[in-house]
């Protein structure tokens, strides 16, 4: 099952990148896909439950949702960069997440990095260290609420 999933993903990427169905390309792609799976296939995290249509629905919904926050993040950082007095109040804060699986935490960390003024520095168990370009709030609870509040519910539906 894991093997089939990996093969479909890698071979799909190969077909997209070459964008041709010439036999030589397809055969080369299949051979290279098998080679890659043989060498580093263990590194892939692939679970059959990822094929659950409800999860896929939420994952597709998550893309425009995240896109919107990425665009907001860009205007936020762009504003800070071009305003003459450089309005920043940076520092590293700690937040707690209730997500359990590694996949979900990775997605959360990457989402945080791409969105307004925050960047993940390290993850330890359920604690994430976040570099924040303009710190609001005083303690872990307030930080957690304003940074992960908007992502956690959707990520939980996708990954857990």
């Amino acid at each position: 099952m894991k093997f089939i999933g990996e093969f479909i993903i890698l071979f799909g990427v190969w077909l997209l990148l070459t964008w041709t169905l010439a036999p030589a390309q397809v055969i080369a792609g299949a051979v290279i896909t098998l080679l890659v799976i043989g060498l580093v296939g263990d590194l892939f995290v692939f679970k059959a439950r990822a094929l659950n249509p409800i999860r896929i629905f939420w994952a597709i919904l998550y893309v425009p949702y995240l896109m919107w926050y990425i665009i907001l993040a860009n205007f936020d950082v762009a504003y800070r960069v071009i305003s003459p007095e450089l309005p920043i109040r940076p520092g590293i804060v700690k937040i707690k997440t209730s997500l359990k699986s590694d996949m979900a935490k990775t997605a959360l960390a990457n989402s945080i990095t791409l969105t307004p003024g925050t960047m993940t520095v390290d993850i330890k168990d359920d604690e994430l260290y976040i570099h924040w370009i303009y710190i609001h709030g005083k303690d872990v609870h307030q930080w957690t609420k304003s940074i992960v509040g908007r992502f956690e519910p959707m990520l939980r539906r996708i990954f857990e």
């Binding site: 762009a78 940076p90 520092g91 960047m119 520095v121 390290d122």
Partner: protein
């Protein structure tokens, strides 16, 4: 014609964000703040640029490659920034003196 114009507009938006990101790289004070500019503006700028290339060239080898590359940039860029930030902090790079807090240093004393 319409798609060409739209594609060029998207490319122009992407280049503008890239420009802002590089200005940020020069203006912001320390490694971590500079990574913020590098991960946000430059990631979206590059993604827009590649999507613009896709809109102009359409469903052929070049367009699809650009689209797949945009997806890869969006996935790998934050991961790279995270590794750089963690490495810098562990390697002893100090935060800018105007920083207000560093919980990571408090929780991980030398």
């Amino acid at each position: 014609m319409f798609w060409d114009t739209l594609g060029y507009i998207v490319i122009a938006v992407g280049v503008s964000f890239d420009l802002l990101g590089t200005i940020g790289l020069v203006r912001l004070p320390d490694v971590y703040n500079r990574l913020q500019a590098a991960t946000k503006c430059v990631t979206l700028g590059t993604a827009f640029l590649l999507i613009g290339v896709f809109i102009v060239s359409g469903f052929n080898a070049m367009g699809i490659k650009a689209l797949v590359c945009a997806a890869f940039v969006l996935i790998t860029s934050p991961t790279g920034a995270h590794a750089l930030a963690r490495g810098s902090h562990r390697g002893g790079v100090k935060l800018w003196e105007g920083s207000v807090k560093d919980v990571y240093a408090e929780d991980n004393p030398e």
